[in-house]
Every structure is written in C-alpha cells, then in structure tokens.
Symmetry: C2
Subunit: 354 residues, 2 copies
DNA sequence: CTGAAAGCGCTTACAG
DNA sequence: CTGAAAGCGCTTACAG
C-alpha cells in the first residue's frame, strides 16, 4: 500500500480562484447565489484542472438517501419469470447500500389493468428519485409516464418499451432478432421435409408484443433460408384445464410436425405433452430457464432454450439509475440484452452473475 | 430524497462500551494495545449491534492506495484474445478508482518461458496487494505462486488454473463441458453420414490443456450420442506459411468432411480455406469472437462460435480481489464462465457488459 | 493500554 | 453574493 497520489479537490479550485470552497460548491451544483464573474472563473479552473468530485466524500457528507421504485408484473409463483429481474434489482441495491440507495418494489396483476393504476399511484406516493417499470398495459403506462415526466423523475423501461416516451433508458431484448435465431436453430436441426409449428401459449395476444415479434422474426428466417419449409402457427389461449391438449391431439392426427417453437416460457407444457403421449423425434425449442424447462432440457425433451438474462436486466436497470442519479453520468438509451442459447451441455454454467 | 436512517457507527459502539472510538478501532483492526477485557466487551457489542463499517468513510479517511498486478500473455496483435480480459480489468479498475484501487499490467511472451520469469519478477517488484495471473507456463507459474504465498499476497488464476495451488479464486471456463457443447452443436447440424474433423491450430499442445479438454469433451458427446459417426483429429502446428493448406488439401482429396470443429479462435483460417477453395456444405464451428470470426459468422461460413466472455473474466477477477482485499468479503473459489453460443443471428447482441 | 484531536473531500446551514 | 465552521464515519499520529 502506498500513499494516494494527488487528486484535485474543491479546495484546490477554491485557492486558485481566490474564493472559498462554499462558492466552488455553489457553482458545482448550480445552486445560484454566485456572481456571473466568479462563476465563470471557477468553471474555467474546474475545466482546466479536469476536476471530478469524489463521490465517496460527497455521499458521506450529504447524508441523503435516494429511493428508487420498481413496478413489475406480479409473478404467479415463486418460480415465475418476474422474480428474476427483481432478484437483479435486489442484488444491485445491496451493493449500493453504502451509497444510501434503497428501493421500494411494487408489483401489479398481470390480468387486471386497474391494479396497475393502483400500484402506479403507490409508486408516485413514495416520491421516488427514479423508477424502473415494465410498461405492460400500454395506456396505463402512458399515464404513469406522464406523471413521472411532470415531476421530473427519471424512469427506465425494462423488458419492453414505449418508444420515445421520455425514458432515460430501455433495458431488454430485441424480440424480432430473437425470433430469427429461434428460426435458425429449429430450421437447422429439424430434418428436411418436417413441418414446423409455432405455438403461442398466451391469453391476450394484444399485450404480448414480444411474442408477435418473435413469431415475425421466426417466419422471416424461414422466408430467407428455407422458403420451401411448411411453417404454421397455433394459438392456445387457455391452458388452465386440459382442453388445450385435445386441440393439439387433433393437429397431430392431421400431421406430425418435425419441430415446434413455443414462443414463451411455457415450452414445458409441450414437453410434457410429448412425453405423456410418447412422441419422440419432434424437435422442441422455447424460452426462458424456468426450473421445469431446465429439467426437460436435461432429459433431452427440449433441444434449446433462448434466454435473456432477466436478473441482469434488473441489475442493469438499477445500475443505470445509479449512474445517472448519483454519479451524474450519461447512460445508453437502448440496452439490448444478449440473446443466449442454452442447451443441456451449457445449462450448468449459465448464470447471470459472477 | 429523505434523511438516511440510522446506521451503527463506531461512535455508538464506543459509547456503549464506555471507551473511545480509538479503542474500538484498535479491536476492529486487531491492532493490539487493548486489554483483553475491553477487547471482549467491544467485540460483544459489535456483534450485538451487527456493526458493519462504512467503506466510504473508511477509504476516504485512510488515504491508502491498493495496487493490483495482472500477468497475462502478450497478445500478438491488437485483435488478439488477451486484449479482452485486459479490457475488463481496465473497466473495473476505472470504476474502483475512487476506492484508491490501481493496477499495473504485465504481459509475457507466449513463446518464451524465460520472459514469464522476468515479468513475474517485475510483478513482485511492485509489491502488489493482489495479483491476477494466467498460469501459462506451469513450472514458472508455480515458482511465482510460491513467492506470492510467502509474501501473503492473494492471487487469482484466470483462464486456466493450477489446482490447489493456494489461489484465492479461479475465473475461467470448463473446457471439457465446452467441448461437449461443441459436439452437440456440430453433431446436430451435420447431416447423418458426414464425417467430422477436429482441427487443432496450435503450436505446442503441451501448454494447451484447454484444447485437449475441449477435444475430449467433443469426442465424449459423440461417444454418448452418435457413436456411429466418424470423428478424427488433425493437428496443424504451424500456420505461418502455406504448407498447412497442402496438408488439408490432401485430407480433402481423401474424403470431404461433413463438419469441422476448430478447437480455438483460429477457425477463420478454415473459413478462409473453404472460401478460397469454393467448398460449400461443410459445417464449421470454432471459438471466440475475433473480428475475422465475426465476419465469417455473418457471411455464413462459420455456423457457431463458442465464446467465454473474456472481458467479463478480467472484470470479475479484479472485482474478486476488490471484494477480498478492500471489502474483506469471502469470494467463491471456482468461477466458471458461461459457455455462450454465438451465431449470425445473435452476434450483434453479444457483449460482455451492459 | 487509552483518549483526544486533526484530517480525508465534501455538504450544509448560518452569519454577514 | 461570499466565507467560515461544523459535521459525515472513519483513520492516524500523538500524548499520556
């Protein structure tokens, strides 16, 4: 360990400018009450010396706590997808605790837009210094965003975004590109001549822009690379009872597919179906590393899972608020998450954090 | 912004124990000069109150700089692989600058073990508080490690490791598992009946444990899943001139393969070969996202690249030293990097940092 | 063995 | 409009 070498302090600036450190602080933070002349002089010296404030000293002295709020869909179970971004949020907040950063996390029902409104109000009520939200219900999200802008509270979209809505940043996937990749994988591993099915296990396709984009990208790959391949889409809105299996039964009677792409994390439903009906030789790919999906990957019922590092998304979103609100740095506006391919062979090494 | 809520300070401990903060500090840092009785009393209160020191205040007051050293192979060009871990190192160091953390980075020749020794001595000469090293030359690395242990300097292996050599941690890949994955990918996309080649473009296979492990994993996948497939290995030690192409020419005359696995980043050599000789229909996979490899991915000459997030490895290694040396936290001993599959379709979203 | 004081670089009232 | 002082939680000599 050696002595720390010279760092520019506000004291240095003050002495060069023949003012007190209080005055330097005033121009540093645009707190006014400084004559234009001294302001200029101080600013000039700050630039010359390439001054950067010491964040440690600053947060230590200020004794401020900044509060970030998150607003995510409520996961239906402890295994649910939306637990993962939250895990990343909690992780980054723990690291930033010394900086006086805290969060309040809100969740809303995935089936009740009114609940979103209610939770959005709760977010506003805690008067956060920054917000991370999943704009699940478009209209209601726009309303919340309007209020945030009005109050000058920076916000970041996660998972999906409203374009040009005044967000500080977006953290999430590019679903079309992800669909292209799924197309390549399934197209490549499905023997020539085998038909391809795309299955949406989703209630309201209106609010599921991701799934639509994935489907579009998927079809696009085949258009470009295997135009002769038969590709079709099935929509299964309700999987609560077992009627949906009859629909599939009928389809299978008609023609057995060579490969199936499930556009979301419910690929395990299809894997269970194939297993139950003793169907082999059908290639299957889907999304997200849920526990069930992992098991089917390991038992060879699912060939590939496309993943998007949800924990990292949460971590990154909070980190961006931190960079912007505390460190006063600029942040990237669009942050597309890597599109990861997970297989039986690499699943044990697939993790978000090191 | 709201007032920060109560945190336990050493002042609180001091008042409860009826001692001064100086005394608390002495027991906190085992600086001795405290009677056993008061030591016990203070320790008890620290535990009761679940005290955690404020790192910001601590580093601010201490004015210490800690120095980490890195010792990596010298990249042969600015595109070379080893620039990437270094990039991660530089990135994390920049973030930690406020904590008074700095690095000195040393590199050694990949063809001259004596140079390693020389650089190792240079590392010792700067008397670092922690070291990250790639144990490229095994014997010479052992010698360095011995000195580090003697001086009680913690060190982390990156990229490959010596087992049980007293390291604080290892950050790197599991090459066998990575080979398994390569086997699966190539086995799945190569039409039945096509022969598979494994190509090592490497000078001294002795120092290339990674390549051997990848090859073993690769063969293992075929043993388990496609035992009927013809798989063989070619070693091309020297690619500086064009003799190596003649070797390949001869092999092609013998039998055209269905798929080729290049065990390292030199897969672009094979892609160039196929392109130059107008050979199509041969599946090709390899390692690492060099610029050339990226281009061949995009031009469809390379089907998959297996990647290991080298920047993240450098970042993570420095971060682990930081956690251990500054934050006094425990760190994981084995840290296997994710094994990433990169294709034309996801390459633009593949990055190490968000 | 123990305590009181000065200082790290910054922020925050307060006095003028 | 400006400066001087106290304080953030901790560390570091120094005095006793």
């Amino acid at each position: 360990m050696t002595e720390q070498n010279s760092q520019i302090r506000i004291k240095d600036i003050a002495s060069r400018a023949n003012v007190s450190i209080g005055t330097v602080d005033r121009v540093l933070h645009n707190r006014g009450e400084v004559s234009e002349k001294t302001r200029r002089k101080v600013l000039k010296i700050i630039k010359e010396l390439n001054y950067h404030p010491n964040i440690l000293a600053s947060t230590l002295a200020s004794k401020k706590t900044v509060l970030f709020a998150t607003l995510f869909p409520q996961p239906p179970s402890p295994e649910g997808y939306w637990n993962k971004p939250l895990k990343g949020v909690v992780m980054r907040i723990a690291e930033l605790q010394q900086y006086g950063v805290a969060t309040q996390n809100f969740t809303f029902s995935q089936t009740d837009a009114a609940d979103f409104e209610k939770q959005a109000n709760a977010v506003l009520d805690v008067n956060p210094d920054g917000v991370v939200l999943a704009p699940f219900y478009i209209r209601e999200s726009r309303r919340l965003v309007g209020m945030l802008i009005e109050r000058k509270i920076p916000f970041i979209f996660i998972d999906s975004e409203l374009k040009n809505a005044g967000q500080l940043s977006y953290v999430g996937q590019d679903s079309f590109q992800s669909g292209l990749l799924s197309g390549k994988l399934l197209g490549t591993i499905t023997p020539a001549g085998g038909a391809i099915w795309v299955i949406h296990f989703a209630k309201e396709m209106d609010n599921q822009n991701h799934l639509i984009q994935r489907e579009l990208g998927f079809y696009e790959w085949f258009r470009q690379n295997q135009p002769e391949r038969a590709v079709r889409t099935l929509e299964i809105p309700n999987t609560d009872c077992c009627d949906w299996e009859k629909t599939i039964d009928a389809e299978f009677l008609n023609q057995e597919p060579g490969g199936i792409f499930v556009t979301n994390s419910k690929v395990f439903l299809m894997a269970e179906y194939l297993q139950k009906n003793n169907i082999s030789g059908v290639r299957l790919i889907g999304h997200d590393l849920l526990e069930k999906n992992r098991n089917f990957l390991e038992s060879n019922h699912v060939d590939f899972l496309i993943c998007q590092r949800p924990e990292e998304q949460g971590y990154s979103a909070i980190n961006k608020l931190f960079q912007y609100v505390i460190l006063k740095k600029q942040v990237e506006k669009e942050n597309y998450t890597p599109i990861d391919i997970v297989t039986k062979e690499n699943v044990n090494y697939y993790k978000d954090f090191n």
